[in-house]
Amino acid sequence: MKPIARPTARQGPAAPTRQRTRADTVRDAIPWTLGVPALVGALFLLVPLVGLLIRAPWRDLPSILADSQVLDALRLSLVCASAATAASVVFGVPLAWVLARSTVRGITLLRALVTLPLVLPPVVGGVALLLAFGRQGILGRLLDESTGITLPFTTAGVIVAETFVAMPFLIITVEGAFRASDRDYEEAAATLGASRLSVFRTVTIPLIAPSLLAGAVLCWARALGEFGATITFAGNFPGRTQTMPLAVYVALESNPDAAVALSLVLLVVSIAVLAGLRDRWLSTGTAP
């Protein structure tokens, strides 16, 4: 059953067809009290990116990027970030729903605690993960004794570390969307006989789909760039736990040119992600 069409904010009044006068130009010009700080802000964000492009070792780029260690790091980064995003969606969306809709006492406290990794320094997150899931950790010790599985220094450990820092981004975005979404449709579906799970699956989720996508992209980007928690909890070993940010850090010690080349690759991937989702990224993400 299609939702009832409503006029969206995008369908504004018809654009004026008269000629622009000098008054229009004066009114629309940017005042210098705002323009100068805006220019400084824009330059501050753009100059480092331009610097990266100018100083990149363009001639050696093909040989640097053909190195198997570089390809390993890139593959590992993409795989782990995607797995971390998948885990964040599977566990984060239900959690966001509970935070948005539940009236149980203490939900505010729970919300504050689960978004803590957002402000926690990543290295601190890594140390906390070690103390919980490390070989001597409170849960890790039980895991090791019962199954012999340890998470540190494994690819699974990288995914755990990235999920820990990136899931709160998804939760925050999606919880906001759940709060803002219109309950009328859900109630309509319920009165027509749909079960609660069916309502969730066919009405609630599609309504917040733009926000879910934006949250997932944010989560993926955060997971891709994670360094501190990864190196502390999962360690650094080429092919198994050395993601791109770690590879850049290692290369910086011995071969700055290779570090710049790797940084360029990450920059290109980031731009590709932003460009591919520019419309949804910049939209408000609430229900149409």
Partner: protein
């Protein structure tokens, strides 16, 4: 208050040690007081970039230096020597560079950022295991056993280079589970019990006594590394940098380094 007490105790200990120097230290007992009174008035901040393994020894030396020269402040940047060398050649502000290998110092000298380095200490490798030794390791060859988790330094960092030399001499193939950024990060993984062993410097095992146990590496296969120190060619506090370098090279400095497990150069 506590810092003052520690500094005074350190100064007193330093003076006593300098006073009762052994015969192969060519410094007269009176030079300790001469050092404190005849040097020009130094002030300001001295920026010292030093290898991670020098953390404890240099922190003590820094406190003694500040006590001997009121008005000065010694600020340290500890890290892997290879990374520090890159920072210095890229223009990071520093007055003194103490490296854990001559190779990284040569890099800095070649970039004309330092001149006439002098060796002030050397170090050999040792195996560090957690205090409980969960994998029951007893010798170097145990590190190559299947299922033993080892932490090593990254291959570009001095402790990684020296550890690789040890394994080459002993004809062992050891695959670590992680390559850490510097020797203190390796030590941290061992202390936390996340790995079964790590190959670190003898001085690191000495300063972490109680938290880790050391397993000696036989002298025949062990490798050593030299620590050079130099003042930089574009310092911000030239007098302070030179004075700190001289202090590290002096008898007082050598005593502190020896107490922390470093060997003579």
């Amino acid at each position: 208050m506590r810092r003052t007490v520690v500094s005074l105790t350190a100064v007193a200990t330093g003076l006593v040690l300098a006073g009762c120097g052994t015969t192969n230290i060519t410094v007269a007992p009176s030079s300790a007081s001469a050092f404190a009174s005849s040097s020009p008035t130094l002030s300001g901040t001295v920026n010292v970039f030093a290898a991670a393994s020098l953390q404890e020894a240099f922190t003590t030396l820094g406190q003694q230096f500040e006590a001997a020269h009121p008005g000065t402040k010694v600020v340290f940047n500890f890290g892997p020597s290879s990374g520090l060398a890159i920072q210095i050649t890229q223009g990071a502000p520093a007055d003194v560079f103490a490296s854990a290998s001559t190779k990284n110092m040569d890099q800095v000298v070649k970039a004309a950022a330092a001149t006439s380095p002098k060796n002030f200490a050397s170090n050999v490798m040792q195996i560090a295991v957690p205090a409980s030794n969960p994998a029951n390791l007893t010798a170097l060859s145990d590190l190559a056993k299947h299922g033993v988790k080892i932490a090593l330094c990254q291959s570009a960092v001095p402790c990684g280079v020296t550890a690789a030399e040890v394994f080459k001499k002993a004809k062992l193939t050891v695959t670590p589970v992680t390559q850490e950024v510097d020797v203190k990060a390796v030590l941290a993984k061992v202390t936390l019990g996340e790995v079964d062993a790590g190959v670190v410097y003898a001085s690191d095992v000495r300063t972490a006594a109680g938290k880790v146990k050391g397993i000696l590496i036989p002298a025949g296969v062990n490798a050593s590394t030299l620590y050079p120190i130099a003042t930089l060619t574009r310092p911000q506090n030239k007098a302070g940098g030179q004075a700190f370098t001289d202090y590290v090279l002096s008898a007082g400095g050598a005593a502190i380094l020896a107490a922390d497990g470093f060997a003579r150069p």
